[in-house]
């Protein structure tokens, strides 16, 4: 560490500094923490994951921690505090200058837009002259993250619209802010963050105003925070869809294995009813044992189609939930069409395989396979729509629980169809 000069560190981007901190051991961190400026340390900590940042900050006393947190942007400060244990959190919160702001942000749930906003912004009044407004903007420029878009509010703080800085500096006085103000989209503090991100994308908004129920402007969400939030959320959703717990790097494999195990166990237990149901069809299975070889086909098709509809439904639920059921109808229709073609192709091939196996009634067997396939591919999308919509109605995150439930139910229903049809059509052998 002797070969790094303090000057090098001082000129470093906080992200790169954070990477260095991750490489250092506790002693090296200790030395540099006492030599770097508070401003630089505070910024550096916001580039670390909250849990790791807290671990590194532990050696500092609460007063110093509060000092650093005060230097952070409000939304970053909130992230750190929300990870702290309650007694520490209360104590540090008490010492903060920005206590009110941070407490307000802490009152939001992580999924709510309010948790990701910064409360520093420049607001203008509609009756101001452009010259006066420009002066205010210049005077306050250093306190805020951006001034490229300025927010116009009435005397009650209610959001009216925005003025682009470009326009403001090009407009000659006398002219009122009102005259150059534009309508601008905004979100509510309680809106889900995911919806807000999609809105920012649609409007290409580098900053999105956040208002209360009463339209009072509370803050704004910046594009870089939206990028981060999106990245986290997308990764999480993808993990959930694959029944993965949160992936932690640098973790010993036994720990990761143990974390993934509970899902696997649940899935294992869920397969017992399937085995149980199968016992009801012993008669036909003994008579036509080769049915077993076609079972994976039916199960796979049911599972594939159900997860397809699930993925589609989950996406609709985040974007416009009211359309989920209408979309579901289309999904079932899709099942009718694909199932028909799948069934027809399966019929032809299954017939030849059945003949090769010397099965007793190859034609009927092929027909059972084809029909079951078709019916299954129509039933599965119904599950793929109803289960996530139902879970959401109950107030849970539809992405978490849907996957395993749906595949199990799809397996169950498809087995009933397959063995049921087989019993009816082949049972008399």
């Amino acid at each position: 560490m002797e070969n790094i000069s303090i000057e090098t560190l001082q000129n470093m981007h906080p992200h790169d500094l954070a990477e260095l901190f991750l490489k250092w051991d506790a002693d090296e961190r200790h030395v540099w923490m006492s030599r770097l400026s508070s401003q630089q340390l505070a910024e550096m900590f916001t580039y670390l994951e909250a849990e790791i940042a807290l671990e590194f900050m532990e050696e500092l006393d609460h007063a110093r921690q509060a000092e650093l947190i005060d230097l952070m942007e409000p939304d970053d400060a909130r992230d750190l505090l929300s990870e702290m244990d309650d007694p520490d959190k209360e104590d540090i919160l008490d010492k903060l200058e920005s206590q009110d702001t941070i407490s307000q942000l802490l009152s939001y749930d992580e999924d709510e837009s309010g948790a990701h906003m910064t409360t520093d912004f420049v607001s203008l009044k509609p009756d101001m002259d452009v010259k006066a407004a420009t002066k205010i903007v210049i005077a306050r420029a250093n306190e805020v993250e951006t001034i490229s878009r300025l927010f116009v509010v009435d005397d009650g703080g209610r959001f009216l619209g925005t003025v682009a800085l470009k326009k403001l500096i090009k407009t000659k006085s006398p002219k009122s802010i009102q005259a150059i103000m534009e309508d601008y989209p905004y979100v509510l503090d309680t809106d889900p963050m995911e919806k807000t991100i999609h809105k920012m994308r649609d409007y290409s908004a580098f900053e999105m105003p956040v208002c209360s129920q009463a339209d009072v402007l509370l803050g704004m969400i910046m594009m870089d925070d939206a990028l981060d939030a999106y990245h986290e959320e997308a990764t999480e959703d993808y993990e959930k869809l694959s029944a993965l717990p949160e992936v932690q790097e640098e973790e010993h494999f036994t720990r990761s294995a143990l974390k993934r195990f509970p899902w696997l166990l649940i899935l294992l237990l869920l397969s017992i009813p399937i085995a149980y149901i199968t016992t009801f069809f012993e008669e036909v299975l003994v008579a036509v044992a080769v049915l077993a070889f076609f079972q994976p086909l039916i199960l796979d098709a049911a599972g594939d189609v159900a997860t397809q509809t699930l993925a589609v439904t989950l996406r609709i639920l985040t974007k416009n939930p009211q359309k989920a059921l209408k979309n579901g109808v289309k999904e079932v229709l899709t099942g009718v069409i694909t199932g028909l073609i799948m069934g027809a192709s399966a019929f032809v091939i299954a017939y030849f395989i059945a003949r090769q196996m010397n099965a007793a009634q190859p034609l009927t067997l092929a027909l059972v396979v084809a029909l079951s396939l078709w019916v299954t591919v129509i039933i599965s999308p119904v599950l793929g729509v109803l289960i996530p919509v139902g879970i959401k109605k109950l107030g849970f995150d539809p992405a978490v629980a849907s996957g395993p439930f749906i595949t199990t139910l799809a397996d169950l229903s498809s087995l009933l169809v397959f063995f049921g049809l087989a019993t009816t059509m082949l049972g008399g052998i």
């Binding site: 409007y203 939206a226 999106y230 993934r260 397969s271 189609v305």
Partner: protein
Amino acid sequence: MDYKDLDLLTKGHPLDIARMIENADPDRQFDLLNQLPLERMNAVFIELSDELALSYIDSLPVEKKKALLNTLEMDEVRNLLEDVESAEAGEMLSLLAGSKQQKMIRMLEYDEDCAASLMTTDFMVIQEGTSIADATGNLIKTVKDSDFIDELFVVDSEQKYLGSIELKNLLAARKGDKLDQITELNQTVIYEHDTVHTAIQKLRDYDDTVMPVLNEEEHLIGIITADDILDIMIDEYEENVERLVAIGDYEEDSSALVRSKQRLPWLLASIILNLVIAAFLSLFQNTIEQITALVLFQPMILGMAGNIGTQAIAVTILGLHHDKLGGLDETKNHIRNEVMIGLLNSLIVGFFGFIISFVFLSFVNMGSQSPFYLAIVVGSSLAGGMFISAICGVFIPIALDRMKVDPAVASGPIISTINDLFALVVYFAIATAMLL
């Protein structure tokens, strides 16, 4: 035109205006567009559907067409050019002003995976050594509506990139300040030939809303802004999920027929593979006829092999996506870890599977096999099938990535069907060996 529409045209957000125009009667659409002031045109135009945008451009007389094309942002013009026939593209290109024309020709040459394909050339450059007053004055005089001005970029006399200035710092600077006092040096930059992935990673890591793009001579050739990065990130994530479940390029309003057409190829491939498996398993016809109870646990073994495989694939794809598996050491490490996780969980689940099936068979009797031996077959096949599937889940995405194929392909139904085959062969082979 009613008052509300007129109000929207002058004050509304460009996206809302574009939506209003898209929803208007076809014969009124051009009318509405004609009413838009030219300075709003750029913002509204980029939100229009490609069809409407192109047909509107076609309808304009040459002079107006020229004016419109020259106000549009460069990346938008690029999009338009890519959508039209080459003859028309040539005509549109010739209408661009000289310098824009050359830039556009260069932009069209970039590959889609190349970071430079995302860049726009509408930004403000300040020469090193300019006074603050001149820089500000110049900005106010020349800024265009499409320009990105949150940050301004400083170049030296040879046009080499030096650093950037935040607009708020420029405006807040005092009279006596020098430009280099507020210029931030050593900023992270993107190079012309970096991949789109690198650009996403850099912008996210450094929490920036904009990054300059340089060529090999360190000349500033464009900027990449965070809104385009967010766009790409969302597209990419949605694509990953689409691949995971093989639904093709999903659109909310596509009809059932379109959806069927997109999904059928994969589903059919999966069916044919499954039937091949069925034909192959007929090798074990004798086994299944004698021990029908084997069919009871077939779904369990298939399901569990699939589940552990999906976990391994998802972790590996996420790792590849976040550029965590760049180096050889990291890759080796990841493989070792995942193989160990796979081994551990297969063994534990196999053990539980043995207990569960033993208990189950003691209560529910089917056939004349001893529950104990059958349960051993189930438990060991569960462990074996799951372990093979976990290994495939780690290696296949990495192999595909090395072969320059998008690893997300691996998450589709085909791989899971191949895993089924392995699991079933293990199952029936162990059963044949132990019970017959």
